[in-house]
Subunit: 283 residues, 2 copies
């Protein structure tokens, strides 16, 4: 394995053998890590690694269509849950649980909850927005091979959770971070994930027998897909445009749109912006 | 580029040229994507890509120490913010903003807020837990080169945000997903990120002049680090142990610890669990 010196940190490329396994090495800095696990905490990421990581971030989609009937192998689902489980959590609380739903009848019951809530939601819009709303596909509950309810057990860490005394909802925030881990890992596996937020969580808890003190964070639909959309569905449908990220950056205090010396970030490098169509459209 | 057929989806390895740039290709399926950006939405991820993605998920840490004085170049910071900005958001609301803090005096003011809140938090524990608590390093506000306050503008999407009518806090959840994107991208860049949750957000908003309707989600400390810890700090310090992920999985309904036919997931594959010491300890 190449140097761990700070200078080499950014550019050092880990040697990857032809099978995709990191090459063995003998550095004493890695002693705390398992032998043969392929996971070493002190390694830097190569340029190719970083590109893969940015690519999965940019190409993750909220997926509601193109699901294939191909089942998700248990070992792949296990990898996704393990990825979720390796999010950080306030006070190392690990407040999440995962309810795996595969049964048709359960999916149908949840789909009925969605339909009821979605009909009410559609009534909130006037024409022509209402027509556009109804044309959007907002869930893939029955088409996806696995549904996954992610919850947050708010009492898991006992009454005193380190770091949670001032901002009580940090356990929810940790659980969202876990969901994002799963979402990215799924994209890397070719599995689409759709987050169904149009659901009455109290009713959903009854369907899944989730106890009262446990909070539902997300109901996700997972499945292999024939393709991932190049852009988010709502952007492609003209529902809303992507905001230029520069407009969301403040310097030192809110509202300062540049540093004192006029310096400001340029966020739209070719590598980091995958949608030039939007860039052109917004000038 | 190799086949997009479902069979080849999982194993197809994109051709990567020696410089780490995906090789050019001419598939019509990619036409919507930018030429020369290196980002193509329909590509599958190679085994090496997936390993990098899992590795960054497993090796991300909540970092409070080992910060180097090396400044973060603007283009790197821009990449991190862009990664955050490419999280999904309810109704494509993109509710986040980023306040970049570099000034010593601002950091000092925030550090004082931390000290005050942390002293109160320490008093909640009895011995010997109180002693252990005080020995923990829980922030790197002044040592890290950039502090970043991530907020959620709850009114950004107008009164009717698609998908948010039933679960109003989905905008907060989206913002957390954005933070996780940034956290992972930072790890890939060799940048440690620490989430300081022991802060009075009302007082913090005054320091950063954040308007009343905008919610503070996170105060992050970012900087290059000399090394990343092999395990989370709180685990290494014996504050709490990692839970076996299997214990957090339910089948069909809450509390079912296996499928009807007795089938259950095995989550501890060597590749996916980086901490064999913990596995051994918990049997």
């Amino acid at each position: 394995m190449s140097s761990m010196a700070p200078k080499g940190r950014q550019r050092a490329a880990p040697k990857v053998a032809s099978g995709g396994q990191p090459a063995p090495h003998g550095s004493t800095m890695h002693r705390r890590n398992p032998v043969g696990s392929g996971i070493h905490s002190h390694e830097s990421f190569s340029q190719a690694d970083r590109e893969a990581i940015y690519r999965v971030i940019f190409e993750r989609r909220d997926v509601r269509r193109n699901f294939l009937p191909t089942p998700i192998p248990d070992e792949v689902l296990a990898r996704l849950l393990n990825a979720a489980h390796h999010a950080g959590s306030v006070g190392f609380m690990q407040p999440w649980d995962f309810v795996i739903v595969r049964a048709r009848e359960t999916k149908r019951a949840v789909k009925q909850l969605f339909d009821k809530t979605n009909e009410a939601a559609a009534l909130r819009y006037d024409k022509p927005r209402a027509g556009l709303y109804r044309s959007l596909k907002l869930e893939g509950i029955e088409e996806s091979s696995v549904n996954l309810c992610v919850t947050c057990s708010r009492q898991r860490g006992g009454p005193q959770v380190l770091g949670r005394s001032t901002v009580r909802d940090t356990d929810l925030y940790s659980t969202c971070c876990a969901i994002q881990n799963l979402w990215l890992a799924a994209r890397a596996e070719g599995i689409g994930v759709g987050w169904v937020s149009i659901l009455d969580h109290a009713a959903l808890k009854k369907v899944l027998a989730i106890p009262r003190p446990v909070k539902v964070l997300a109901y996700l639909c997972l499945g292999y897909v024939s393709e991932f959309a190049a852009r988010p569905d709502l952007e492609a449908a003209g529902w809303r445009a992507r905001l230029p990220v520069q407009e969301l950056v403040h310097y030192e205090v809110w509202g300062n749109k540049a540093e004192g010396n006029g310096r400001k970030l340029t966020c739209e490098s070719p590598r980091s912006i995958p949608e030039p169509a939007m860039r052109a459209k917004r000038g």
